[in-house]
């Protein structure tokens, strides 16, 4: 029986729901409806303990499930011949592993950070819930199951965006929700057609398109695939529907931004991989207008995202635009449809998850300790919080792609893959845009490092305000990973290229 692989789905989900409906009070005595905001430390401690234990157990279970080989389990039939079906395969495994690591690290960070945001019960309740949904998404074995949990991830992650309850936050959350739902619906539109023209809705490496059924209906199928790409691309922040990212990130608490940017956008990437490589197959798409349009959109997003980030002065918004740009690196790699580019895309998925988590968590630490949100205020932060800024620096170097940090490896494969591919002018245009964007990346990330460590003359060194160890340790661990994976990338590259080979 492999039913136990669903434990990492159900355990955090149930624990999250229990936490949300529990009568756990984090504030001391409320008098007739007027909340008195004195936090009950003891109760909060218990809340943290509960969350930490549940999440740790779930993560261990998830890793066990992910690493225990290809297992599958059918939960029930949603409709006749459409089961809710889970199957752990290579791509799902990778996603589950990096999701778990980031989720755990950001959780420990959040225990400290959420102190100044309040409403911790709600935050951690949904935090657990989203983890369960993400595991289900990663393990899902057919397209309808994927869609099912894709929608639920959107829905359960929304409360983390509107956490502080201001008008701005609520509007941002609604924007996130509506964009994602529109995207999901466009994905669903494609699913209806794939249901018709594929042999099965289960994920088959290389796709399961039935040529006999398709012949004569190529146009409509191509339109459907394009719709899926744009639709699932919403979550991945691809133009033209990237607008929710810069709106949602500045208002969300830092740990939420970190997982939103590092992990949840990858749900869009995963869905695109599933549709293109596991349902339709590259043979059908290669050389069509869909591939061209996809590449144009991805490259435009890479460039525009970097440019917007460069011009943006609010730090978290800048990082959000950076996500827009970086995730489209991945999408460009996927659109090139060569094994090397695919390897690069998969590597960048993992590396970007770690890097962006570090960047957002360090941004959160600056906000938490210094209350500074704008880039120009960060002069001299390196003197006040050297540890945090060092983590930020390593992650920045990795994102720009300076060897030996991890981003270099993935970008190398992306560029090499694009040069290999038979994609006309994009063979050269692609790597060129990636290069320009890397320069812009350096342009928007490094000034903070320089100004932070070298504030220049006339700056008075105030007292040290280093982030608490409980915040710094998770940050440092992930930051170390971003460098370490760049130094010792061998096994990972090997693994990813094997997947990519199998799919082409």
């Amino acid at each position: 029986m492999s039913g136990w692989i669903l434990l990492p789905v159900f355990l955090p989900t149930i624990a999250g729901i229990l936490l949300l409906v529990s009568s756990f009070r984090e504030h001391l005595a409320r008098t007739d409806g007027m909340p008195v905001f004195i936090e009950d430390k003891e109760v909060l401690g218990k809340l943290h303990q509960f969350t930490a234990i549940v999440l740790t157990v779930s993560v261990v279970l998830a890793l066990l499930a992910a690493l225990s080989g290809d297992r599958s389990v059918t939960l029930f039939y949603l409709m006749k011949d459409i089961p809710i079906y889970f199957h752990i395969d290579e791509v799902g495994r990778i996603n589950a592993v990096f999701t778990s690591i980031v989720w755990l690290a950001a959780c420990f960070y959040a225990f400290v950070y959420m102190e100044h945001e309040g409403e911790e019960k709600r935050f951690f309740g949904f935090y657990l819930l989203v983890y369960g949904m993400l595991m289900a998404l990663d393990f899902s074995g057919n397209l309808v199951t994927l869609y099912f949990f894709y929608e639920l991830v959107t829905l359960t992650s929304m409360p983390m965006v509107l956490h502080n309850g201001t008008r701005e936050a609520i509007m941002a959350a609604l924007k996130y929700l509506l964009y994602s739902m529109l995207g999901a619906y466009m994905g669903l539109f494609a699913i209806f057609f794939l249901y018709r023209y594929c042999d099965t809705l289960e994920f088959v490496p290389g796709g399961s398109l039935n040529p006999q059924l398709v012949s004569g209906h190529e146009t409509i199928l191509l339109i459907a695939v394009m719709s899926a790409l744009i639709g699932f691309g919403v979550k991945a922040g691809m133009l033209p529907l990237h607008g929710w990212l810069p709106a949602a990130h500045p208002v969300a608490p830092a740990p939420a931004s970190a997982v939103l940017s590092g992990i949840i956008v990858k749900a869009g990437v995963l869905s695109v991989i599933r549709v293109v490589y596991y349902m339709v197959g590259t043979e059908f798409l290669r050389g069509t207008w869909v591939q061209t349009a996809w590449m144009v959109l991805a490259l435009l997003t890479v460039f525009m995202g970097s440019l917007m980030a460069y011009r943006e002065k609010v730090f978290k918004k800048r990082l959000a635009y950076s996500t827009v740009s970086q995730v489209s690196y991945i999408l460009f790699g996927l659109s090139a449809m060569t094994p090397a580019a695919m390897t690069g895309a998969l590597l960048h998925t993992v590396f970007h998850a770690f890097i962006k988590t570090v960047l957002f968590l360090s941004a959160g630490a600056f906000i938490f300790r210094l209350g500074k949100t704008r880039v120009e205020e960060y002069t001299g932060v390196g003197k006040q919080m050297p540890g945090t800024l060092w983590c930020y620096t390593f992650a920045s170097l990795a994102l720009i792609g300076i060897p030996p940090a991890s981003g270099f490896i993935s970008k190398w494969y992306l560029a090499a893959g694009a040069l290999d591919a038979d994609i006309g002018v994009f063979r050269y245009l692609g790597p060129a845009v990636l290069l320009i964007s890397a320069l812009l990346t350096a342009g928007y990330l490094l000034p903070i490092v320089m100004k932070g460590f070298f504030p220049g003359e006339g700056f008075e060194i105030s007292e040290k305000k280093e982030a608490a160890p409980a915040m710094l340790v998770p940050l440092a661990v992930i930051a170390a990973l971003t460098i370490l994976l760049g130094v010792l990338p061998g096994p990972l590259i090997h693994y990813m290229s094997r997947i990519a080979q199998a799919l082409m």
């Binding site: 409806g33 639920l152 409360p159 739902m181 539109f189 018709r196």
Partner: protein, 501 residues
């Protein structure tokens, strides 16, 4: 003949006669009798359903031993029995959920009249479901209208009187058109029993005679019932009627009354005219266009609304649009989707009305959005139930609304011309639904730091309103069950539809 076969007739008669009985009782006893009758009807419908599913075929029940062309008949198949059971269950839950409001909002001397109306309404609904006679159907349509008016008007304030008058006028227009259609058909075929009419219609169709009158008759009946079930643009009576009447009335009206008419229309399509003829007529195209317009305009009106009850009412216009769009697609699959949506919408909409009343209870009985801030914390169960209902309406997986959306889209793929309009309309309507429902959900969960203490809003726990809590929990379970294991329901609808012809 098995004894169970008497049950449909007995359930109609039982609910008909328990009405007058309630008039002479005091309110307590009337309530008990009403509940008992509802429970008995539920049990009887369940028994009938089990029986029909066991035999696997429909049966005809002759009344008064007059043979076919003259006598009145009841016809029971799987779909009829299932609908009857479902209507009884929803009615029971609506009554349960609105107990407190009835005690508060109705005059003491009028409360037993309410039970009269409810019993009459259920009687007419069951008759509409079971009858095999077109004229009997018409008679019960009128009874239905009158008792529905009573349900709206019984909470007496200016708004409801006006709403009931509007409802009366529109409804009578609708039944007038229906009657006209039936007269035409009677003239053409010489019969009133559905099966006999269908035979004659087939002959007419083969000979090609009276093509236009037949079409006119079909059109009149469709439009008549469309007006009565509030298809856009005939929906103007609806927001007031649902928005200001007492909770159980609003829930019953939105989830049962309009659905009874729609079910009658399905019967007319399949049992009277024959779906092949309906499919090839232009009438379905008209329904399709109005359905799609309703899906979008209903939601647009709902977005502009600031009153939660009226917002939910406008959302009904949109959902009725879905159902007619399904008819308009003109395939058996799309009708299956429509019937599934009847079930799903009935379960969801009544949940929403009851949950909204729970939310307004915790907001000083105000229905305006401004006062609802944070109500989800003051009445947790109602907040959760409202969230479930909203998610189902938007069509999030796991809830019943998703399945109907899936079924509509799947059936749309089969028709070449209507595929794109349907899918686009579904997309737009999904987004619009999300706008107003999730806006409300966020509103009721927005932290409310000042208002509660200033306005002295109550905090309501499950123990304060046990009946409503029970109704809400059962509604939530029903909704999740429909969303997660839709397969048996869909199979049931399919087999029921195949028994129709």
């Amino acid at each position: 003949m098995a004894f169970v076969q008497n049950f449909p007739f007995m359930s109609i008669i039982l609910s008909l006669f328990s009405g007058p009985l309630s008039t002479v009782m005091d309110r307590k006893k009337a309530k008990i009798i009403n509940t008992a009758v509802l429970l008995i009807l539920t049990a009887m419908s369940a028994a009938v359903l089990v029986y029909v599913m066991g035999t696997g075929e429909s049966y005809v029940y002759t009344m008064g031993h007059f043979p076919a062309p003259w006598g009145n008949e009841i016809r029971v198949g799987v779909l009829e029995a299932a609908m009857a059971l479902f209507f009884c269950v929803i009615m029971l839950l609506c009554m349960l959920g609105g107990v407190l409001e009835r005690e508060l909002e109705l005059e003491e001397s009028k409360e037993n009249l309410y039970y009269v109306m409810v019993n009459l309404l259920l009687c007419s609904l069951l008759a509409l479901i079971y009858t095999n006679d077109l004229f009997t159907a018409y008679v019960f349509v009128e009874i239905n209208t009158i008792s529905a008016c009573g349900l709206i008007m019984i909470k007496q304030n200016g708004r409801t009187i006006e709403a009931a008058t509007r409802y009366m006028i529109m409804s009578l227009l609708g039944s007038g058109l229906l009657l006209l259609g039936i007269c035409f058909l009677y003239d053409l075929t010489g019969h009133l029993l559905m099966s006999n009419i269908q035979q004659q219609v087939r002959i007419l169709q083969e000979t090609g005679a009276y093509h236009v009158p037949l079409l006119v008759s079909l059109g009149l009946m469709s439009i008549g019932l469309a007006i009565k079930s509030a298809l856009f643009p005939f929906h103007t009576w609806l927001p007031d009627a649902y928005g200001y009447s007492t909770v159980s009335s609003a829930a019953i009206l939105s989830s049962l009354v309009s659905k009874g008419y729609i079910f009658l229309l399905v019967k007319i399509f399949f049992r009277v005219i024959g779906f092949d003829i309906v499919k090839n007529s232009k009438v379905v195209n008209v329904l399709f266009v109005f359905g799609i317009a309703g899906m979008i305009m209903g939601s647009v009106s709902a977005i502009r609304e600031n009153n939660i009850r009226r917002m939910i009412a406008y959302s009904s216009v949109a959902q009725i649009g879905y159902i007619y769009m399904g008819f308009g697609l003109g395939t058996t699959d799309s009708v299956v989707a429509s019937i599934y949506h009847i079930v799903s919408h009935a379960a969801t909409k009544s949940l929403l009305f009851v949950a909204a009343s729970g939310i307004t209870d915790a907001s000083g009985d105000s229905t305006s959005f401004f006062d609802l801030t944070g109500a989800g914390y003051r009445n947790k169960l109602a907040g959760a139930a409202f969230t479930v209902g909203s998610l189902s309406m938007v069509g999030i997986p796991m809830f019943s609304g998703f399945i109907s959306k899936l079924l509509f889209a799947q059936s749309a793929l089969e028709s070449v011309n209507k595929m794109l309009p349907t899918l686009i309309a579904l997309a737009i309507s999904t987004i619009l639904n999300a706008v107003y429902f999730l806006k409300t959900v966020i509103r009721i969960y927005a932290p409310d730091r000042k208002l509660a203490s200033e306005k002295h809003f109550r905090t309501i726990t499950m123990a304060d309103q046990p009946q409503k809590a029970a109704a809400l929990i059962l509604f939530i379970i029903l909704n999740l069950a429909l969303g997660l294991s839709s397969q048996p329901v869909i199979r049931l609808i399919r087999s029921g539809l195949s028994m129709f012809s």
